[in-house]
Symmetry: C2
Subunit: 238 residues, 2 copies
């Protein structure tokens, strides 16, 4: 028996990625407790309930925030630094939003993907949510900036391990230029377009359609779609 073992609260936080055809974006929410500091944007999240698994808490928060039942979702990592909730303004907010004297707060972070043009139906306790480019994330409460930074590394690993997830960020039909921009956004670097075309040629699950873009000011480009069946066939052969 040791007095050193600590009773803690556990929350989940969600990093919801979208893609606005130029940049990778993240869905942030506004703290809604009444203090001055509380207007800060932050990651959507919640303490877990009594009878709730962390995975279920993440599904709950995302559903309340978006109205979407099944977003592609992945547990990323537990953030548990002893001082992650020690800033005065964060403690004040915790007191108001949840309950006083939360001694320690550990969070399990989830990464979710959401097509940015989907209509979101927010029934959560957050009054306001917005998409922010990963290149203009504001200063956020707790360790949320650290979490976003590490999540960017994780989404790259996710794409490498499971390329199918890129289709979750693109429209149903997309151009190679859109796909190219998404890869550039995820990897946050210039990718030579000719090399990229060669790369796409090695992906039998990116299928050219007999269809072109409509109503664009430039020369209409061919549309492609993601073929899940081809992809799964390929994957099962690995």
């Amino acid at each position: 028996m040791s007095p050193n073992f600590i009773h803690t609260y556990v929350s989940i936080d969600c990093v919801v990625f979208g893609f606005d055809e130029k940049q990778l974006t993240i869905l942030l929410v506004q703290r809604n407790a009444g203090t001055g500091e509380s207007k800060a944007l932050k990651l959507p999240g919640s303490l877990i309930y009594n009878e709730e698994d962390v995975d279920d808490a993440a599904q709950r928060v995302l559903f309340e925030l978006t109205g979407i039942k099944k977003l592609p979702l992945k547990q990323f990592k537990c953030f548990a630094s002893p001082d992650r909730a020690s800033k005065q303004e964060d403690r004040l907010w915790l007191d108001k939003a949840y309950k006083p004297d939360i001694n320690r707060l550990i969070t399990v972070v989830y990464i979710a993907l959401c097509k940015i043009d989907r209509k979101l139906t927010n029934i959560s306790r957050y009054k306001h949510s917005e998409w922010r480019s990963v290149n203009s994330i504001p200063h956020m409460p707790f360790d949320h900036n650290l979490i976003v930074g590490e999540s960017l590394g994780e989404i790259r690993r996710w794409v490498e391990y499971e390329p199918a997830i890129i289709s979750e960020l693109l429209p149903q039909k997309f151009t190679i230029s859109q796909l190219h921009k998404l890869y550039e956004a995820i990897y946050n670097r210039f990718i030579d377009i000719r090399n990229f075309h060669k790369k796409v040629a090695t992906m039998p699950y990116i299928v050219a359609l007999d269809e072109k873009e409509k109503g664009v000011p430039h020369r209409a480009a061919r549309l492609y779609k993601f073929n899940k069946k081809e992809y799964n066939k390929l994957k099962s052969n690995l």
Copy 2:
């Protein structure tokens, strides 16, 4: 403010993988509280301390168990089912080993790799530890069997994403046959040896040495080593 938000204890558990040249193995420990049930083998783990991050807790448990300061270690997943610590025998053990009335216990699982022939210096509170083949894991407390099952999937993903980790399970110098057996063990399936030779030929970081096995009853096979420099070069070109 909701009474539904719960105060919980957080632990870490470690799945330490080894390879005995035939099978993938896991390092288990014996519960050392005094009850009849307490002799059960389980994963090594600990509640986290007051001022301790989960990563640090995992390092601490592994160091106390093995005497090794830097084992390759990876946070895998948070297991938080509300009833994972609800069995009577597990509650009794928690009462004795830690403190009474632990209302809920959430665990963060780590995967570590350890060459099975390393000398382990156990200074932990566990009196007994042993390597067990993943094919003969006993019935364990809490959700430890579930955790081991999911960890087997995770170690496959880890190898695919970062092939270098296989070298952490092999001797410094190894034969292709040993490497082949390790891959078969990790994937838990037959892998055709000729195809495997072709696969190895595409890995410039598996380097043939001018050296053969010694003192073996069969025809001595060529030895290979893992070239970290080649590997990192290749990786940075991705």
